[in-house]
């Protein structure tokens, strides 16, 4: 009896033991551990350390998701990106205070582009013959993204890639923000596999994506090692991926349309006119 009383007192006097979170990968809408079983420390948090096989799985998930996502109506994609903005707004406290407002606004901005791009980037072509001739933008396919460290940077590179109908595999070392953002995306009706996030080292994982036959585009914005960037671009050349070279933009500036257009294809359709 005396022992039970003592235990109760002991529990009352010490703080509650909190539940720690392991920041796992985000692949195909699920949060798996790395198949390698490895983790790494990110500011005192445990995060899964992505491997080559995780990269392979992520590309597979991205490819599987491409048909449905690229075939969704532009209106629907815009709605989902706006939903992601709503979810992010609701979880503001979990993100860096100095970046989260801009990040929400950026999602809203790109959400609005979904059903305007075809009008701005497309054209009706006045060919010199009796043909109906129209050019429209279409997504490139699966895009591998090496994300910049900052949270606003992450949102600013992912949103333009997916709003047009691409799916992506993101590599980042900033696991805490990235995986918390994945939780935002996972609750935004974004189909699984549209965004896949591999936390770990760009130098280890990105070469497998740059040389992957089923990846169509490569965004090197967040690559900090110039030598690695050249090597990745060279590898991407083997399968003629569309490559966005590294840069360090001011993320609070007007982003323009360049991050969307680099991963768009223009399709021109000809049809005769006649009675």
């Amino acid at each position: 009896m005396a022992a039970r009383v003592a235990a109760t007192v002991w529990r009352r006097t010490l703080p509650r033991v909190n539940v720690r979170k392991t920041y796992k990968l985000f692949i195909g809408g699920a949060f798996p551990r790395s198949e390698s079983g490895r983790t790494f420390d990110v500011n005192g948090h445990n995060a899964a350390l992505a491997s080559r096989k995780d990269a392979r799985d992520a590309v597979k998930a991205a490819r599987s998701a491409f048909g449905k996502w690229s075939g969704a109506t532009a209106y629907n994609r815009g709605q989902i990106l706006y939903r992601a903005a709503e979810m992010l707004e609701g979880r503001r406290s979990e993100f860096p205070a100095e970046e989260v407002d801009e990040a929400v606004d950026r999602l809203v901005w790109y959400a609005g582009w979904a059903d305007k791009l075809a009008q701005v980037m497309g054209s009706a072509n006045p060919v010199a013959a009796p043909y109906f001739n129209i050019s429209s933008p279409e997504p490139t396919g699966v895009v591998a993204v090496v994300a910049p460290r900052s949270f606003l940077g992450l949102v600013s590179v992912v949103a333009p890639v997916i709003v047009t109908g691409n799916t992506c595999v993101v590599v980042t070392g900033a696991a805490v923000e990235a995986i918390t953002f994945a939780e935002v995306l996972a609750t935004s009706d974004l189909p699984g596999g549209v965004v896949n996030i591999l936390t770990g080292h760009a130098g280890e994982v990105a070469p497998w994506l740059a040389s992957h036959d089923d990846v169509n585009g490569l965004d090197l914005t967040g690559v900090e090692d110039a030598g690695l960037a050249v090597e990745l671009e060279r590898q991407a050349g083997e399968t003629l991926k569309r490559v966005l070279r590294p840069s360090d933009p001011k993320w609070t500036d007007d982003p323009g349309t360049g991050r969307m257009t680099v991963f768009l294809e223009i399709k021109t359709v000809w049809h005769p006119k006649g009675v």
Partner: protein, 475 residues
């Protein structure tokens, strides 16, 4: 009933081919290292000796282009436009000469060089001339800047047309250029150099260096070029994409293709057969966007095949300068070997070849129009670009199967779809992963219509408003 055609040769007296040509650098022809002979592929007659530019020659050409760049930009779009209009007009005025020379050097029928290539060349210069002083309205910001010096390497299948696709938008945007024509077809580019002189185009704005692979590599890898534009094989495209890694160079690549031409059972079959013939036999099949994989719905397979064979039997193969000729000469001995080799592989792998009976000239490089039946998707002739008058025929049952087979290729340049059902055209066109989709037509081109590939057929677009982006600093 067989129709007999009397020969109707176009006179070659309109062209004046010099025994040898130098390099066109800084507005003048200069001597270059003696290089190679360019031959008429229809006769194997030597047409001229052409210089093979060395690394040092390429450097001179790039320096000339660099020196001309500030002034060419500074004179402004309004003045640049007038130079381009001038070029377009001279091309029109000398169109017969250009067409005959193109057919002599390339082997393509005069009917095509006269009615397709050269008119499109003039139209392309007219189109981009008009853009030169309107770039601020093109959707790339209020005052888009040119890139600088453009290195341009073009193929032998449409020598002058590819030159126009490269040079016209580059100059309109305010860039200066160094262009390398293909080693087997340099003559119309060298005649274009004369046209630049005739137009009083400022020296150094256009430079033309002849040569083969090493000359092209020296040009692409030159540290002082800001832009690389290449049309040619996917194999060389990969090399270029790797070579420019880590540089500031903006790149556009227009590479190979293995286009599906899909015939649904409700298509207007006679029209479709014309489209099939045009799709694969236009320009001897030396067309990156050729409809080289025919996908026929099973229910009309026998009918389409019979009609196609009947139509192919009327194709006239022979003298490119004969106005009756449908199919001219294969461009080079090397290309002929490649076509023969892949065709042999087709038979070895179990496909069945058929060609109409036709006599081929005794000299020159020739290949009969050929179709392969019994082709599976795994056959090399269904996967690799043959770049010749060789069609692989496959079948399908459902629209979904047609789309899956059409997209089952690393290429994505073009595709064709034939059906009388409008909604089906739109749905299929949406699903085809190709940069150009021809519905109930094939191999149509226009300066206002963007052209270029998905996937390993390259990136960037040529033609239309979109074609400007390749030559402007847009990000």
């Amino acid at each position: 009933m067989a129709f007999e055609y009397a020969p109707a040769p176009e006179s070659r007296s309109i062209v004046n081919i010099k025994p040898s040509y130098g390099l066109f650098i800084n507005g003048a022809f200069v001597d270059g290292p003696s290089g190679f002979k360019t031959v008429n592929p229809a006769t194997e007659e030597v047409l001229a000796e052409v210089a093979e530019a060395s690394k040092a020659d390429v450097d001179k050409a790039v320096k000339a282009a660099r020196a001309a760049y500030p002034r060419w930009t500074r004179i402004g779009g309004k003045e640049r436009a007038k130079y381009l209009f001038r070029l377009a007009r001279i091309i029109q005025e000398r169109s017969r000469e250009l067409a005959v020379l193109e057919s002599l050097d390339n082997g393509k029928p005069i009917r095509e060089s006269r009615d397709v290539d050269v008119p499109l060349v003039a139209a392309h210069f007219f189109y981009y001339a008009g853009w030169a002083d309107k770039l601020g309205y093109a959707g790339f910001g209020p005052n888009p800047r040119p890139l600088g010096v453009a290195a341009q390497v073009i193929p032998w299948n449409f020598p002058l047309l590819m030159l126009a696709w490269k040079i016209a938008p580059a100059l309109a945007c305010g860039n200066t250029v160094v262009l390398k024509p293909a080693e087997t077809t340099p003559l119309t580019a060298l005649l274009f150099a004369e046209i630049c002189q005739q137009a009083d185009l400022p020296a150094g704005v256009v430079n033309i260096v002849t040569g083969a692979g090493p000359t092209g590599a020296a040009l692409v890898e030159h540290p002082d070029v800001d832009k690389v534009a290449f049309t040619g094989s996917t194999e060389v495209g990969r090399i270029i994409a790797k070579a420019v890694a880590g540089t500031r160079k903006k790149v556009t690549l227009e590479l190979g293709g293995k286009a599906a031409n899909i015939i649904f059972d409700d298509a207007a079959l006679d029209q479709a057969v014309e489209g099939i013939v045009n799709g694969i036999f236009f320009n001897q099949g030396h067309v990156c966007c050729a409809g080289s994989r025919l996908l026929v719905q099973e229910s009309v397979y026998d009918e389409v095949l019979a009609k196609l064979k009947r139509r192919m039997a009327t194709l006239r193969v022979g003298d490119p300068l004969d106005k009756n000729t449908d199919i001219g000469a294969i461009n080079s001995a090397e290309q002929l070997i490649r076509i023969k080799n892949l065709s042999q592989v087709g038979e070895q792998e179990g496909a069945e070849a058929w060609s109409p009976p036709c006599d081929l000239p005794r000299h020159g490089f020739w290949f009969r129009p050929t179709i392969f039946t019994g082709v599976s998707q795994a056959h090399r002739i269904a996967r690799e670009e043959i770049f010749g008058p060789v069609l692989s025929i496959l079948t399908f049952r459902t629209p979904a199967e047609a789309v899956e087979k059409a997209n089952n290729t690393p290429y994505g340049l073009s595709a064709g779809v034939w059906t009388e059902k409008g909604s089906r055209i739109l749905a299929i066109a949406d699903q085809l992963r190709a940069g150009v989709v021809w519905a109930n037509t094939f191999n149509k081109f226009d300066p206002t219509a963007p052209f270029g590939g998905y996937k390993e057929s390259g990136y960037g677009r040529e033609g239309g408003r979109h074609g400007l982006e390749a030559y402007l600093a847009t990000r």
